[in-house]
Subunit: 225 residues, 2 copies
DNA sequence: TAACGAGATTACGAAATTGTTAAGTTAGCT
DNA sequence: AGCTAACTTAACAATTTCGTAATCTCGTTA
């Protein structure tokens, strides 16, 4: 028997769905744990430490959105993938879900092959992510060289700016809360004022003279090309 | 029994082939581990730390090409040889494979003697290649003689300076953190003051009178021509 | 429309980091 | 012991980066 490819926590209130999903994932070499609602999910996540959480949106006892918010607020799950699983083909919630830090979105009814392939590729993305280089069509962020190359021009950013920028760029489209940014770039002990992040963001925008960083009022910032 | 010549990870989805290859390699003094697909290969590579990976191209669960790409993306395997093993006599894939960082290419059906001799010579190349000389257009660093030749002029650097310089030059462009430098040049036990590295850097810059070493404030130093 | 909330800008001083020089230290040689 | 080269350290200068306060801007709300 091959070693497990990864641990997945499946959260859904419908037992039929759980069974189908669990069966297919296990068949493909994943280790699966289940939870029936958000409250349960959070507690199982704590003990099971999954690499990926498949999260239904509509559930009693804390819905998927809320659960996602709470998970993402805890830096312990920074490296945990979250994929929403939902019957709503509602685009609103898709956007909302992804902005909240989910990594993908799969609609019901579930097609096993599709499910497995999406999960495979999510894992692939994750494992690639320790990569030293984040690249986009006209932008490349090289963590090894501490260099940003924009339209062929190399730009040197000072440490904080670089860290902030590469944090945001590490998950394009995902909104980072101001707290989260402070936590990751400045660390939990350091306390800096309210405007500090803004000022750094401004300097980055200025130096790259482009708007890769988008403001989400009242929430935080996100990177998007 | 002689000591092992080297560790080889054999990756193929056909068990017959694995058996033939494994048998022949072990007969010739190599230590062999096996994997049946790309995913498995990557995980085995991590734990087994092979010197050479024999990689089949066509496999389920991540093909050889993809596996090679992922391995080569990780600098941990910079010194690992990769040899493709495939039934395709297709030249396209040969070129593609070699471009991706593979070191050789062996076609099926496998002839044991040929296989072993190709592997022997791959190892021979590797052992030669732990190169004592790092060279650039107008700069040559000879690790064997502790000599740096810049624009034809030989410069003798004292030990620490030489080690520091050749460490940085071993990965041009890559930023070495101050910690990293201390760890590798001075060792983990020795504790030296804050300015020690700077002073050495200064002396190197002075003696070569050129700016191969660039400062990345708040981070470290990097070598760049 | 005035008041308000959130972010954007700016400029500036404090803090952190590196550069430079010169003066110790140490180890090996003669 | 005396000498020398290699290393370290100390002290201070030079730079760069960072954080903050003060002031704007803009959209929203009462």
């Amino acid at each position: 028997m091959q070693s497990k490819l990864g641990k997945i926590l499946v959260v859904d209130d419908e037992k039929d769905i759980i069974q189908i999903v669990k069966y297919n994932l296990e068949l493909n070499g994943y280790e699966v744990e289940i939870a029936e609602n958000g409250v349960d999910a959070i507690s199982k996540a704590k003990s099971f430490k999954p690499d990926l959480i498949l999260l239904d949106i509509m559930m009693p006892h804390k819905d998927g959105i809320q659960t996602c918010i709470e998970l993402r607020a805890n830096s312990e799950y920074d490296d945990t993938l979250i994929i929403f699983l939902t019957a709503k083909s509602d685009e609103q919630s898709e956007i909302k879900g992804l902005e909240l830090g989910a990594d993908d979105y799969i609609s019901k009814p579930i097609k096993p092959k599709l499910l497995v392939s999406r999960i495979h590729s999510a894992f692939r993305r994750l494992s690639k992510d320790d990569g030293k280089i984040i690249s986009f069509p006209n932008l490349e962020i090289n963590r090894e060289r501490f260099l940003v190359k924009h339209n062929g021009v190399e730009v040197m950013l000072p440490r904080k700016e670089f860290e902030l920028f590469s944090l945001l760029a590490s998950k394009p489209g995902r909104v980072f809360l101001r707290n989260e940014i402070l936590e990751k770039v400045w660390g939990s002990e350091v306390i800096v004022g309210d405007r500090t992040i803004d000022v750094h963001v401004r300097k980055i925008r200025q130096k790259l003279n482009a708007d890769f960083i988008h403001t989400v009022k009242g929430v935080g910032y996100k990177f998007e090309i």
